[in-house]
């Protein structure tokens, strides 16, 4: 006993820690709740420390699923999602998720193992130049070269990922650094002289915009995901109401403004609604708040907002003027900019006619589908989901037709209820992302809307929802095809359906059952009614295989190269 006491005493005098210890301490310091990680050779020292850690570790069945789950977590919680992957293949498997997070500005902290420093560059077993690979698709990346740097680098990484325009940061840790022993280094402050995001708007530009608003006859606000990242939806609503300006959303911005509000026009873009696209085309003042004028939103730039004075509020100065010439640039956090605009309390524009025109468009050209059809329509399924969840579920989608139907028919009442892969358009994103979303908001009703194609890219993650008993509701809009590809082939390639139909499928119900998850196949509206009533409020995972009309297309639609006003399929 005495000996033991003596031992612990000397221990505390000269405390030594490993790199992995420092890493976990740094994560605890950042209040990390959950890690999405997959072990392997190069991260064994870290995993040994995780064995005793209080942080929840989620083991996806593929690293790509892990990073998409982290993206879903980041989108809903507003905090960085944390991922661990091993060196080589573990690291390359997360590349898609990094590119996706970079495009959609999601904060992630990704740790990758690396071979020991002594063998870097020798093509060692499971070595990959992950810094080289990920430089263009991360906000920043690091390789830790010395154990003393671990606390500082992790602190910097969290700061970079979650401030300014959020994005993924990767930290590569050679195995010997994680295993090496040192005395805890002194605390160092974040020192990034080249990184100082501008948050406060320039007063003169705010004045200029206020004046432009008071002169405008046909103003619109285009609100993107920047509003959500800045947690500025309350300010957006206040400003729009104060100035009586109609609000249009981008795909990623949905939820920033309540869809049931009288000033809400709809989503714009390739499959946006007629009123929103015409609103952008006809407006004389376009106030972009936190959107990046993506090509799927603008259509052909030549025809985009031809009569408008363009104002653009963005935290990333490089986005202003990138695609659309801008006369009122405001580099700022959306919340700060909106607060200042509200304070200006400018004279609202006289634009009764403009609102009437928009309402007329909305009434005359709503989204439509054949409500009398015999076959179950995917749009109907989305409408039912909306009605039965009171528009308050977290909807996570994959990419394709179902994504557009979800965006069109699920009318979000509030912010941070919508997770989708917008910029990169990553199939296989939806289902794993829903896992992260559920972990971020355990009490919420989370619906993962997938196509039959995309779901098959990440079916393996069924294991997680079973393991953690996450009550995710998987909705597969099954049309036995890669629907969006099929639609384009029908319209632009003379219905030559080259490799877009997938008639051979697993029984999704049996697949779910193989993981001990309840599954239902649903072929009619009546069945849908009954099953949805039964499962939507349950606290366990469930898979719903909706057999929908395989020939259904998404409309309205803007063909590539066309302007927003050249929509097709605007009326039945």
């Amino acid at each position: 006993m005495l000996q033991e006491a003596a031992l612990t005493e000397t221990k505390t005098e000269t405390e030594t820690v490993t790199g992995a210890d420092l890493l976990l301490r740094a994560l605890e310091f950042e209040n990390v709740e959950v890690i999405f990680g997959y072990p392997g050779g190069a991260v064994l020292p870290i995993y040994d420390k995780l064995y005793d850690s209080k942080i929840l570790h989620v083991l996806p069945r593929h690293e790509q699923g892990g990073i998409h789950a982290a993206e879903g977590y980041a989108r809903i919680s507003g905090k960085p999602g944390v991922v661990i992957a091993t060196s080589g293949p573990g690291a390359t498997n997360i590349v898609t998720g990094l590119a996706d997070a970079m495009m959609d500005s999601l904060p992630l902290i990704v740790f990758t193992g690396q071979v020991a420093t002594g063998v870097i560059g020798s093509d060692a077993f499971q070595e990959a130049d992950i810094l080289g690979i990920t430089t263009p698709i991360t906000k920043y990346n690091y390789q830790i070269r010395s154990i003393e740097d671990i606390p500082r680098i992790v602190k910097e990484a969290f700061y970079i990922a979650s401030t300014g325009r959020p994005g993924p940061v990767l930290i590569d840790i050679p195995k010997d650094i994680a295993a090496s022993i040192a005395q805890p280094p002194e605390e160092k402050e974040v020192d990034l002289p080249g990184y100082q995001p501008t948050l406060k708007p320039n007063y003169l530009q705010v004045r200029k915009l206020t004046e432009a608003v008071s002169r405008a006859k046909k103003p619109v606000i285009l609100a993107g995901a920047g509003v959500l990242h800045a947690k500025a939806s309350a300010e957006l609503k206040e400003y729009a109401e104060q100035q009586q300006i109609p609000v249009i959303h981008t795909l990623l911005g949905l939820g920033g403004f309540p869809a049931n509000h009288s000033l809400f026009v709809g989503m714009a873009g390739m499959h946006g609604c007629y009123a929103a696209n015409m609103g952008l085309t006809e407006c004389d003042l376009l106030i972009n708040i936190g959107a990046r004028f993506d090509d799927r939103l603008t259509g052909n730039l030549k025809h985009f907002a031809p009569h408008a004075t363009v104002a653009h509020i963005d935290i990333d100065p490089a986005e202003i003027g990138k695609n659309v010439p801008t006369s009122i640039p405001i580099v700022a956090d959306a919340k700060e900019a909106l607060q200042q605009l509200i304070q200006q309390d400018g004279k609202p524009p006289a634009q009764k006619e403009w609102m009437e025109t928009i309402q007329q468009w909305q009434e005359e050209y709503p989204y439509f589908y054949d409500r009398e059809a015999e076959r179950l329509k995917p749009q109907k399924v989305m409408e039912m989901l909306h009605a039965k969840t009171n528009g308050d579920a977290i909807v996570v989608t994959d990419v394709g037709q179902h994504q557009m139907w979800a965006a069109q028919y699920y009318r979000f009442k509030r912010a941070d209820r919508w997770v989708t892969s917008g910029g990169l358009g990553t199939m296989g994103f939806g289902f794993p992302a829903s896992i992260g979303a559920q972990l971020a908001d355990p009490d919420a009703c989370v619906i993962a809307v997938c196509g039959d194609g995309g779901f098959q890219m990440s079916t393996q993650e069924l294991a997680i929802i079973k393991e953690l008993n996450l009550p995710v509701k998987i909705v597969i809009l099954n049309n036995m095809a890669l629907g969006m590809v099929r639609q384009w082939q029908e319209i632009f390639y003379e219905s030559r359906f080259s490799h877009s139909k997938i008639p051979v499928q697993p029984s999704f119900v049996k697949l779910a059952e193989a993981y001990d998850i309840k599954g239902y196949m649903i072929q009619s509206e009546k069945e849908a009614e009954a099953v949805l009533d039964e499962v939507l409020n349950s606290r366990e995972p469930v898979l719903l295989d909706f057999r929908v009309d395989p020939d259904e297309n998404v409309y309205p639609m803007i063909a590539p190269g066309k302007g927003l006003h050249e929509m097709v399929g605007v009326k039945p």
């Binding site: 080289g132 263009p136 990346n141 080249g194 490089a318 010439p325």
Partner: protein
């Protein structure tokens, strides 16, 4: 149009990779890039010469470079009064009876011979890109065996004239 962009960057691993990566990612056409230490410890200076279509494209380059976390400062100095220099080493064929001819070309360009062998000589020339270009054209007929250029490095002059004025006449 040609733009000269000066960068001050943190001297961190991979920083040059980040900059060149950005040029290829954003599809910017780069003519030359030169890197070296700067007057501040831990910081390097990069001078890039790029070709862009219009002012908007050059603004994009500047903004994208500025967004990089390791980049402290970006200046497009093209429209300023600047000093710009490039160094070239040229190994040219020169047998004894053409050597004098080559020497006579070197002098007005204030180039210098830094190595001579039986059948060749190596010339060092410094100056603005145009001058180096002109000299290379002139020396080409003699047969250039090897050529190495550093690319332009530049910064603004200590005293700036009004750039509008500066544009209207040449001081040379």
């Amino acid at each position: 149009m040609k733009r000269i962009i000066c960068l001050t960057v943190m001297n961190r691993p991979g920083v040059l990779n980040r900059i060149t990566n950005l040029f290829s990612k954003r599809n910017f056409n780069i003519e030359s890039i030169s890197v070296g230490l700067s007057e501040h410890e831990g910081m390097s200076r990069i001078t890039c010469v790029v070709h862009v279509e219009d002012d908007r494209a050059s603004e994009q380059i500047t903004k994208q470079l500025n967004k990089q976390i390791d980049v402290i400062k970006v200046t497009d100095i093209t429209d300023q009064s600047i000093v710009a220099r490039e160094l070239a080493l040229i190994k040219v064929q020169a047998v004894p009876y053409t050597r004098n001819e080559v020497y006579s070309l070197i002098e007005p360009f204030r180039a210098s011979v830094i190595d001579v062998s039986k059948d060749s000589m190596t010339i060092q020339i410094t100056g603005e890109s145009d001058k180096v270009e002109a000299f290379i054209d002139l020396i080409k007929p003699y047969g250039i065996k090897e050529l190495a250029r550093t690319g332009t490095t530049a910064f603004p002059r200590g005293t700036q004239r009004n750039s509008q004025q500066h544009k209207s006449y040449s001081i040379i």
